[in-house]
């Protein structure tokens, strides 16, 4: 399969141009509204002021402490939910009965707004990173566990029969058939889990915390440092975009291997 048809490559370039044009016009509108318009700089600072603050944040390295806290929480939460979700999902997928019992429970739990339990988590684990880790791990457990069940459940029966007919051991069946067959669906679950963990952690940092990017943003807002707050928001968005792109790339790799 050598190359795509030209039309589709052209279409990609065209849609990228529209996306970039949209961003540029949003910034231009922002600029006009704050410089020419009557929007209060307390609500919406000028783009160049935000850019100056952003450069200062990056140059001084002030962001490092908060970024470290947020990323540390994310890594711990994701490690917990991935280990728990994969193990629980695999064990449940071994029996039709367990799938029938647990899948509706997991799906139900996934659909409730777990962030509402944040006050309880703070009572249990304190204001520091532990409550953010616990909340992030809880929220991301569900998509990982559900996709693991779906992944192992989607293995074609004929592949298992064929492997058995050739004499595979239980371990070989797991390693060479079940895991590669389930991996595409599991990879999607891990990516979804990662994304919701990031959202939960940033969100809960803004509600009540002692440190982290979310905490910094709320702190700046409360002290009316609007330009610096916007700079931190832009920085957090950039970090989130980078993390999600990396997670998506890893997911694609998981699907191909």
């Amino acid at each position: 399969m050598a190359g795509r048809p030209e039309g589709s490559a052209g279409a990609v370039i065209a849609s990228r141009a529209v996306q970039i044009g949209f961003l540029i016009s949003a910034v231009a509108l922002w600029h006009l509204a704050t410089v020419r318009g009557s929007v209060s700089p307390l609500l919406l600072p000028r783009p160049d002021a935000v850019l100056r603050e952003l450069i200062d944040v990056l140059a001084t390295g002030e962001f490092l402490g908060d970024l470290g806290v947020t990323l540390g929480e994310l890594a711990a939460a994701f490690a917990l939910s991935a280990a728990g979700g994969l193990a629980a999902g695999y064990l449940i997928s071994r029996s039709r009965y367990w799938i029938e019992v647990f899948e509706p429970l997991l799906a139900g739990a996934y659909s409730i707004p777990i962030i509402l339990f944040l006050p309880l988590y703070i009572l249990l684990f304190g204001l520091g990173p532990a409550s953010k880790i616990a909340l992030g791990a809880t929220i991301s457990f569900f998509p990982i566990a559900m996709n693991t069940i779906a992944g192992f459940g989607s293995v074609e029966k004929i592949h298992i029969v064929a492997a058995r007919s050739m004499g595979c051991s239980q371990y070989q069946l797991f390693r060479r058939v079940l895991v590669p067959a389930a991996l595409p669906v599991i990879a999607t679950g891990l990516r979804m889990g990662f994304t919701v963990a990031l959202l939960a952690i940033l969100g809960s940092e803004t509600i009540s915390s002692l440190s982290g990017l979310g905490h910094r943003i709320v702190h700046l807002a409360e002290n009316m440092h609007m330009a610096r707050m916007f700079a931190y928001i832009a920085f957090a968005v950039a970090i989130a975009v980078v993390l999600n792109v990396v997670a998506t790339l890893l997911e694609e790799r998981g699907k191909r291997s």
Binding site: I158, H159, A162, A163, R164, S165, M166, G167, R176, S257
Partner: protein
Amino acid sequence: MTAPGAAIRIRNVSHHFGEEGDPQRVVALRDATLEVARGELLCLIGPSGCGKSTLLNIAGGLVAPSEGTVEIGEMRVRGPLPREVAYVFQESALFPWSTVAENVKLGMLFQGVPEAEREARAESALEAVGLAEFAQHFPDQLSGGMRQRAALARALSLQTEILLMDEPFGALDEQTRMILGEDLSVLLAEHRKSIIFVTHSLGEAAFLADRVAVFSARPGTIKKIIEVDEPHPRRPAFVTSAKFHALRDELYSLLHDEIRKTVSESALARASRDGAAADAGG
């Protein structure tokens, strides 16, 4: 055929799904007795649902029969025998996440072939089915016919004496099926394997088989065994010979009544089910 030491002995095998008294109970197979001689290709043909695939799976130890026994060589079959029996299934049973070459080697890994041997054996098996150039392709990059060639290569690489083929060309178009049939006949003449080949194609059975076992409608049992006295490899010209046509006609007349029976039975079953539903509704 009374070849000394049959490759497979199937004795009084019956199989049913569901327990006695269960309204859903299906007797798939009743008292089938059959021997496959060494180096012979035996075709099983019959109406759909007659239990021919079930019998194949019982012969290879993938399904335990409700009654009766199967022996391979001197061994009683109680489970899969990867060193004696290799399968080619109807649907693509290739692993889609592995290349063609990896698929072939994975089969040998499962079977317990030492790593040093796998590469060379995979290469020669793919060569034999004409897929050497496609070793690094993934199954979904191949046509249906090529996928079944790859599945055949995987089975050949296992170097078993017995090959069980469950409608291996069933999902292919007529022309691809003819070519694969010819190639299979050539391969078999070289490898001398003992084969059970399930098919629903009269032409395929007449072209490939040394013997054809014709099944009756459900509960399936062997109605008649027909010998095909024609050496392998079978030439394409065999298809146009009077002998081939006589064979095909004989198979057709044997099968025709059984297929009618199956169709009218399933129509009756549907009618009585619909009747019951209408009663319940009214």
